[in-house]
């Protein structure tokens, strides 16, 4: 048994917005898929298998929509897998696709993730379809408050993340939110949704899709700048039981350690050049910096406070604007992987981090209980000691 390296040679995403009324679900996924294929200089005919990921079908009200999307994704006559791992699904979908390449089953795999949230009511869906849904913000706010208590982080840290990611989004032509006059004051004065989360500390509800073409070493020769998936890992844990640490879930810690070890990373803070992390609510930036052992306990918010996580900082986080600027839920995890890959390809445009060689993509979901992580490199030996 052996494992082939897996490269990303095509990346596509849609313009994300509140309601993409100009396209159907099929049109939305096809827009991303065609862009990924064009980037890879391939067509649907070159693809061996398709992996589709999205969050609950209840968001759009279509059961197993990949069945009807098979036609739009050129999947007829091919294997098609549908992944669903809650909010982490976009990340998991890339990882499932990468295993098809690494195991030598297929040479070229198209992975696609999307959500068309304007077709339904995501808040209703997130609440399990039951009345009185508290939404994701309601579920996570107590964890955030607990983090603030533990770490003694001042309240303005959340506002800083909200401002930074929205300023980054102004450099990303695909981002949903474009808040030109974003400021700490504006975030602070926005309505309180779920204490301590203000309106502007929360992600939007978006329509959008992301697609990538994955291939093996031979296939990667067709493009000048493939991004290599140096390692990936997934972890899941039960969402509720006495004694569970929901602020720094063990699944997140172990997932990070697994992916670092597989990539040969011993000091993530030094060896990773840029990270795209699932931050749907501002506070999850410092929480995951600590939750994935990038920062020492209680030190994550200080990285934010010092400006380390800005595009020009020592550890840029979410230069794309992140989930705080675009959140088509099923696609959000794949967008993290795609943006991490764009960085090491040197193809991130205005939000490019200078000299990025190693990047981290991360997605989480459920009650902060599902994790999917990958380390990308500009070359197979990008991780230095």
């Amino acid at each position: 048994m052996s494992s082939e390296p897996c490269a990303i040679i095509g990346i596509g995403q849609t313009k994300h917005s509140k309601a993409r009324v100009d396209v159907s679900e099929a049109g939305l996924v096809r827009e991303a898929a065609l862009r990924a294929l064009e980037d890879a200089q391939l067509t649907f005919k070159d693809i061996d298998a398709v992996v589709v990921g999205k969050a609950p079908d209840a968001f759009e009200g279509v059961m197993q929509p990949e069945l009807f999307l098979a036609d739009a994704l050129g999947a007829s006559g091919k294997p098609l897998l549908r992944v669903h791992t809650a909010g982490s699904v976009g990340g998991s979908t890339v990882i499932v696709g990468s295993h098809l390449v690494e195991a030598g089953i297929h040479e070229r795999v198209l992975v696609v993730a999307y959500e068309k949230q304007s077709d339904g009511n995501a808040q209703w869906g997130l609440g399990g379809g039951r009345g009185g849904s508290i939404g994701a913000g309601g579920a996570f706010a107590p964890f955030i408050r607990a983090y603030m208590e533990r770490s003694h982080a001042p309240e303005y840290i959340g506002w800083m993340v909200a401002v930074k990611d929205r300023l980054n989004a102004l450099k990303n032509p695909y981002a949903h939110l474009r808040i030109e006059d974003i400021s700490l004051e504006k975030v602070k004065e926005s309505p309180m949704l779920w204490d301590p989360l203000h309106f502007l500390e929360s992600c939007p509800s978006s329509d959008g899709a992301c697609a990538m073409v994955l291939t093996n070493a031979a296939g990667a020769r067709s493009v000048p700048n493939p991004a290599w998936i140096l390692a990936s890992a997934v972890r899941s844990e039960m969402g509720q039981f006495p004694g569970r640490d929901a602020v720094r879930p063990r699944a997140g810690v172990e997932c990070a350690h697994d992916v670092y070890e597989r990539a040969g990373i011993t000091n993530p803070r030094q060896q990773i050049d840029v990270a795209e992390i699932y931050v749907p609510f501002s506070w999850y930036e410092p929480m995951w910096l600590e939750g994935h052992d990038i920062a020492e306990l209680g030190e994550g918010w200080k990285m934010t406070d010092r400006g380390d996580t800005e595009i020009t900082g020592s550890f840029p986080v979410n230069p794309s604007g992140g989930v705080l600027s675009s959140n088509p839920i099923g696609a959000s995890g794949m967008l993290r992987m795609a943006e991490a890959a764009l960085q090491v390809r040197g193809a991130a445009g205005e939000h490019q981090v200078d000299g990025a060689r190693v990047s981290l993509g991360q997605a989480y979901g459920g009650n902060a209980q599902y994790f999917a992580m990958a380390v990308m490199g500009a070359s197979l030996d990008a991780v230095s000691g």
């Binding site: 494992s3 197993q64 009807f68 036609d71 006559g77 897998l81 791992t85 690494e102 899941s236």
Partner: protein, 352 residues
């Protein structure tokens, strides 16, 4: 590089009943626990877990999250989920095991069909712009497929009844079915239509249930059992969604999956296939190239019990256990997804 052999080393099915009195996580817990015990692998040793289920069957989002409890996801586990029959979860786990860094995987599939009305539920699975508004339900679509089969001259209503008669007779020796028995063909044909040309017996019974399988790499499998069941090939294919652009009397995706899985490498003794409507067995026999010497659905198949999202995984179990007990040497199992056999998976297994 050619895929390496992976073995099935343990399995279990829950009771398959028309309405289970326990929750889906409970069904999964019983089944996973039994499969793990059967395999001899410790639950904590499992390298990767993958499950298959469908939110819509239970009428809510994130239904599969609760099933994590059955997988014993504490301490945290390496895990994934497909919104598909558990047979595809087995495929994902089989792929994961190819990489060689782990040596065991746990797979399970589960579904409770009893809470919903399939005539209301399944139109939601069809294209939301053109088909769902028509209320395109599975019984009607299966009837269109059956009618096309009759019109093509490939089968008659009597042929459908013969499939039912044999399936339910076979099911008599399977204690874990919803329905079984000896039926007279003419008596079956005397019943009225549900959706012409389909009669009640041509439809699958509403079934709740779960199934679980433990997989191991070659070296690990030989440590665990004297009779590993080797997966020699597994492949799956999809075809267009719109019934109008397909020839419903054939299943090119099933034929292609069978070819890729290595059907041409040798005759199979038995085939367990997910023909949830009786005419589909006739279509699949032709697509899979199953001659008269092949025993099809000795378990009774999906016409005897159809726990959606576990039906395909149960076909793999029913075929595998006949290899393990020595009554068959080379077997085929088939799973299906979507309507009118839109998506098909074929798994070929052998004895040592």
């Amino acid at each position: 590089m050619a895929p390496v052999d992976i073995a099935i080393v343990g399995w279990s099915q829950s009771s398959l009943v028309s309405a289970a009195p326990v929750s889906e996580p409970h069904l999964c817990l019983q089944t996973v626990t039994a499969a793990i015990a059967h395999s001899g692998v410790g639950l904590r040793e499992i390298g990767f877990t993958c499950s298959g289920s469908c939110d819509y069957l239970s009428g809510g989002p994130f239904v599969f999250v609760a099933n994590l409890e059955a997988a014993g996801a504490w301490p945290p586990i390496s895990e994934s989920h497909v919104e598909m029959d558990g047979a595809w979860a087995l495929y994902e786990a089989w792929v994961r095991l190819q990489e060689g860094d782990i040596d065991t995987a746990l797979v399970f599939g589960s579904g409770k069909s009893s809470p919903s009305d399939r005539a209301q539920l399944y139109p939601q699975q069809m294209d939301p712009y053109y088909l769902a508004p028509l209320g395109a339900d599975p019984d009607s679509l299966a009837a269109i497929q059956a009618r096309a089969l009759i019109d093509s001259g490939k089968a008659t209503e009597r042929d459908f009844a013969e499939v039912v008669q044999r399936s339910l007779r076979n099911a008599k020796s399977n204690p874990n079915v919803v329905q079984s028995g000896d039926f007279d063909i003419d008596a079956l044909l005397a019943a009225g239509y549900v959706n012409s040309p389909l009669r009640p017996h041509d439809l699958p019974p509403v079934t709740d249930g779960a199934a679980a399988v433990v997989l191991a790499t070659a070296d690990r499998a030989r440590q665990l059992t004297d009779r590993p069941v080797w997966i020699r090939g597994i492949d799956h294919r999809i075809e267009p969604h719109y019934p109008g652009v397909r020839d419903l009397t054939s299943s090119p995706s099933a034929a292609l999956a069978a070819r890729k899985a290595g059907i041409g490498d040798g005759a199979v003794d038995i085939a367990e296939i997910s023909a949830v409507y009786s005419p589909q067995e006739i279509i699949l026999r032709e697509a899979l190239g199953l001659g008269d010497s092949v025993a099809v659905n000795p378990s009774g198949g999906a016409l005897a019990a159809n726990p959606v999202m576990a039906t395909g995984l149960i076909r793999i179990i029913e075929a595998a256990r006949r290899v393990a007990d020595g009554s068959a040497r080379r077997v085929l199992a088939h799973a299906a997804g979507g309507q009118c056999l839109q998506q098909n998976l074929v798994c070929i297994m052998e004895a040592e």
